[in-house]
Symmetry: C2
Subunit: 440 residues, 2 copies
Amino acid sequence: MGTALLTDRYELTMLQGALADGTADRRCVFEVFTRRLPSWRRYGVLAGTGRVLDAIEKFRFDEDELAWLERESVVDARTLDFLSTYRFTGDVRGYAEGEVFFPSSPVMVVEGSFAEAVLLETVILSILNYDSAVASAASRMTSAAVGRPCLEMGSRRAHEEAAVAAARAAVVAGFAGTSNLEAGRRYGVKTIGTAAHAFTLLHDDEEEAFRAQIASSGTGTTLLVDTYDVTRGVELAVKVAGTGLGGVRLDSGDLGVQAVEVRKQLDALGATGTSITVTSDLDEYAIASLAAVPVDSYGVGTKLVVGSGAPTCGMVYKLVAREDSSGTLAPVAKASTSKTSVGGRKTAARQLDEDGRAIAEVVVTGRDEAVAAWAPASETMRPLLVDLVTGGEVLPGWTGAEGVVTAAARHEASRDELPRGARRLSTGEVAVPTTSLVLD
Amino acid sequence: MGTALLTDRYELTMLQGALADGTADRRCVFEVFTRRLPSWRRYGVLAGTGRVLDAIEKFRFDEDELAWLERESVVDARTLDFLSTYRFTGDVRGYAEGEVFFPSSPVMVVEGSFAEAVLLETVILSILNYDSAVASAASRMTSAAVGRPCLEMGSRRAHEEAAVAAARAAVVAGFAGTSNLEAGRRYGVKTIGTAAHAFTLLHDDEEEAFRAQIASSGTGTTLLVDTYDVTRGVELAVKVAGTGLGGVRLDSGDLGVQAVEVRKQLDALGATGTSITVTSDLDEYAIASLAAVPVDSYGVGTKLVVGSGAPTCGMVYKLVAREDSSGTLAPVAKASTSKTSVGGRKTAARQLDEDGRAIAEVVVTGRDEAVAAWAPASETMRPLLVDLVTGGEVLPGWTGAEGVVTAAARHEASRDELPRGARRLSTGEVAVPTTSLVLD
């Protein structure tokens, strides 16, 4: 399926008006940014870039879609004609996927004619707002897990396609794998999963269920031991699988207390190599509270796929510059009482101290040619915008499985560069301030 | 695209174990329910049923999917063979879409072999959890709007496919239309939308922009008047369009104060029929606070698509009964310390008083044959479960545009049946208690 109708109707209505009065060809610069972060977040994590590029490539109106637009009189014949050959031929730059961001960071910049660029607003924002919400939550979880693997298991608590995107975004932010099969197929991420309570309940008793699972999946599997009684479940698990049992999973109760008891019991039974996975309404705070508990991995569901308190980012797609009637690219901005923004093209860099720690997010504004050509003069200014689409062609490396692997590596490096306090879970200031550099 | 891989890996792992030990054919009853509502909600709204039925019909493993499962060694050859001809042949009953629900309401009941029914868990929960979260929020908004139209405009703040589902769910719960074009095409819901600030900023000045929009869309359009100065914007709008201007939209600032001023200004200019639409971070509380303000319609975005504080429902898919080794259908339930549930097949009815007001949610349990055959003896017990899929065939009327229209009508009737206090926005008890009726 294409992505062209995953769009607000007004994008097409505006296009029709602009085609009629000749402004549709004006060269425009649109910028994606957020005005603020949730109060308890010290940084955001950009995710979804690879998916945006896929969506731009698939942004074509097919015959069925055009016929529907005509039948519903959404737009006039001239606009339908334009849409029938629509293809984005402009440029997209942006923060590389996995990069951290702050208020006002220009995380994506789309340049093209008004007609071509305005249509992309809805689908770009849908993707970046959701995927970045999940990645921003996921990064706090992997940070709180201090090296223990986090596994994404939230598919059932999100829209079925959002679930695939959530699994991808979680891996960008350091998750080790996902339960979601389609995410595995589409993006090459590792999939995991053994059994639910239903498998135990299906059998006449727990021992039969454990025997069936071991016979089918081997002793390296993870047995879910809390269907009836945890102590009996653990005893039975080791009896059936032997001390080489791969793992046990706890999915209810006081996980901290139970994990300590289960670890002791496993060790006493000789199953010292059997790992403990905990799952059950975990979030970054619950993960942090289990840091001193003998847990080997965390399965995270609901709180991850709903962004742990912030289910969407507040990213907007604003026209910041456009050609005027004389053909000059001029900055523009909404000017009434609220929701104001800063006009003009922007670029950005992260300012580092001598130790390579981030100390500021520098947003560069000013004369358009100067901003477009700007390159940092110093090694302590790391430029943040990269080319993603040039002349309508998506550049290689950003999409598919490759895009996810490089985004995950980039996120780790970008997070490591932040001041130490950035990993605090408490409410507080953003990790580094956003400052501005004006060129002339 | 099919829906078969929108699934947690453990569903397939369990299937493999059950195929190997002969339990895969055991007849099973799975039940979808939620343990609680958000503390500030007095009822939930079931949405997504039509989408679930579409997903069940499309739940097939194609050659590419099977090849991927084989290559990744997700399951063994015997399981791949089973999946290659998979088709759900069982039964699904459930609450009709749009119906309100309460804790423990058995909103969907899936019956079939373990092999057939267990695979559907993830996609069923993904759909019902997201769509019902949106519909439950939407119902409070349409209730607070007391007859004024609510318009869904949140696509950009949700995953791009979730956005389509959100638009559909909003309409089920009383919204009058959506900005999302694909929702219009797929489900026949009304689409709306005129222009954003970008259209005004594209032009050399506001007057040119308004002239272009009027020329393209006619005077019946809605002009966005808050790009520069609202008072000047309104004056200009009426100057350009005349007093027959369809509407103006306010998207920033103090909407209550501004709407009063704009109404006075429009009336003074003679544009007494020009409507006022407000948009900007509205939720049910903001809508309620505007009840006495001269506003004609509400455009709702972010808060709707993220479920206004509850971005997912806590619905679970639990095995409640299954054939044992003797072929008898027996109730089963998890029995350890928390997350317990009640075993056995259930059905449900809403108990009404003489005036037709709901007074209890009656969940019927007990001997399986008695529950399966149960019909209320009295007109004050309205049965809630309807047939959705019989012998693998999706019954007509529940899907597509027809399903949405009937679900919206049903929601209105179901909400009207609730006690008056059910519409309060404040934190408090659920509208009616859940009680149980045990048959033997």
